[in-house]
Amino acid sequence: MRSLYISLTSEFYKSRKTLAFWAAIILPILICGLIMVGFYSGSEKILKANYPGLALWGQYSGAALGVMGMLILPFYVMFMAFSVNNIEHKNDTWKTLFAQPLNKFSIYAAKYLYAVMLLLICLVLFLLLTLASGYLLQVLVPKYTFNDYNPALLLTKFYSKLFLASLGILSVQFVLSLLWSDFLKPMGLGFVGTIAGIITANVGWKHAYLIPYSDPTLALRVTRVKGAALEDFPIFTQEIWVSLTYAAVLFVAGYFILSKKNIK
């Protein structure tokens, strides 16, 4: 455990000046900021639609969630998984890392965990910024109906699903970036995967959930059970389990790939 903690602190220290780390913070700020500006400057048009609180929140948060689930999130995950591993590939530091008096598995696990944490930071920021900017808009444009509904639980559940559904992609990309030190292979495969994911999810192929790249999109589709409250949808649905299974299997596989890879 000490090894894991030490390695994790070191991961944060090493990458605090890299784009992968800052993107986790800048991306939510940028996207939420843009949506907020759009809702502020276009408030007259939006007010004409006379949305009740819930629908307004739906419109507002959906703008971020929609793009996120389909495009930005997979691409961020690809880039981040690449960057976390590339820091060692580029500097040829894998061997030094594994020559430290630390448990080998902890060093690897810390790297993986660090990638998961970056994703978590990114999504938590999205959640918080969506909520905060929504209420800020209410102050700036008093005619908005954001105060009529509290979306905290709903959004938390959505973002939790998104996070869990992305772990599959993260693990695939993590292992690909571990295998290859160059940018193009993991990126190319990830790109193809993402496109395939979007297509299969949108045409409603019944086995789409087996492709990790379609899981985020699928996870955000919630069918409302009649009579139940809106917030009452399950988090652990089929595609979430698939994503978690991918994550677990590839996490273990990655360690074996890495220990083999060092033999050079």
Binding site: K14, K17, D92, K95, A99, Q100, P101, N262
Partner: protein, 302 residues
């Protein structure tokens, strides 16, 4: 067994079906500077990687301070510092940050970073990105990283690579300092004998994965028998005269005859013998094969 900082017993290592290290029995005494010599591709780096457990060795073949490495990996690594191949540094971090990062991994005080920077003369470049360092500076930072945990055993893979003469002398003095004043043990690899013959107390010569020589520097020197080189106006006749007189001719070409050196008197006698037989002796001198040639001899025989 525990008198050795490093001991390998019949170590054999394969990459696929290619044997990279065969039956290697290194014995590095504590407190020594062990020069690990061999041409490029002889298996030096592979051996160092095995000593760091980066490559898994067969059980009971590698011992660090008397302890089997595979079952004592972390304990062994705690006592070692290493510089393998090119220094592995994070180019987007400054020199100081590289050292601080290592401090974090080793769980030691961060103040040690500044101490190390001044030791290797990088204090002024502390806040410069390591990617912008010159080759020599990178090498020094690599050495600082290896030394930061104050390890008892240092493994340095070609540490003077890319350093200027001043830098080479500094590293040399540093190595001597570390062993004599601080009781460290250093294994330093090189493909140049001249580079380490001044500092090393012990030498191991490896070629094609096999250890060809192991011993102290003076043992290595005694391997080379001194010769008497004779230059005359008639080489063929001189050769015949010397041979009939019972001298051992080692080599003979158009310009010189070389015979085994048996003593100063013997050398005088040879001279007299030649002169009495009507041969003009231009020069007669005792020569010791230098270590560089010896090294070439040892490695090319195999």
């Amino acid at each position: 067994m525990s008198n050795f900082a490093i001991e390998t017993v019949g170590l054999t290592y394969n990459f696929g079906n290619q044997t990279v290290v065969k039956d290697l029995s290194l014995q590095v005494p504590q407190g020594s500077i062990y020069g690990f010599l061999g041409p490029n591709g002889a298996g030096k780096t592979t051996t160092i990687k095995i000593l760091l457990n980066l490559l898994q060795s067969p059980a009971d073949q590698v011992f660090i301070f008397g302890k089997e490495i595979n079952s004592n990996r972390i304990a062994s690594l705690k006592r070692m510092g290493a510089l393998v191949e090119q220094p592995a540094i994070y180019t987007h971090l400054t020199g100081k940050e590289n050292l601080i990062n290592r401090c974090m991994l080793l769980g030691i005080k961060k103040t040690k970073a500044a101490e190390m920077l001044s030791l290797v003369g990088l204090t002024e470049a502390a806040n410069k990105k390591a990617g912008k360092y010159s080759l020599g500076m990178k090498q020094r930072l690599g050495i600082a990283l290896a030394l930061i945990s104050d390890p008892e055993l240092l493994l340095l893979d070609e540490p003077t690579n890319g350093l200027d003469p001043n830098g080479i002398i500094e590293i040399r003095n540093l190595m001597i300092d570390l062993t004599t004043k601080h009781g460290k043990t250093i294994l330093v690899s090189s493909h140049l004998l001249a580079e380490i013959e001044r500092t090393a107390t012990h030498v191991g010569i490896i070629n094609k994965g096999a250890l060809l020589f192991q011993g102290t520097i003076s043992e290595l020197q005694s391997l080379s028998k001194p010769l008497v080189k004779i230059e005359t106006n008639n080489q063929a006749a001189a050769g015949n005269i010397l041979a009939t007189a019972g001298a051992e001719i080692v080599q003979q070409d158009e310009n010189t005859v070389a015979v085994t050196f048996k003593g100063k008197e013997d050398m005088g006698n040879l001279n007299t013998l030649l002169v009495q037989n009507g041969i003009t002796v231009y020069s007669i001198s005792k020569e010791r094969k230098d270590l560089e040639n010896l090294f070439l001899d040892i490695t090319s025989k195999n």
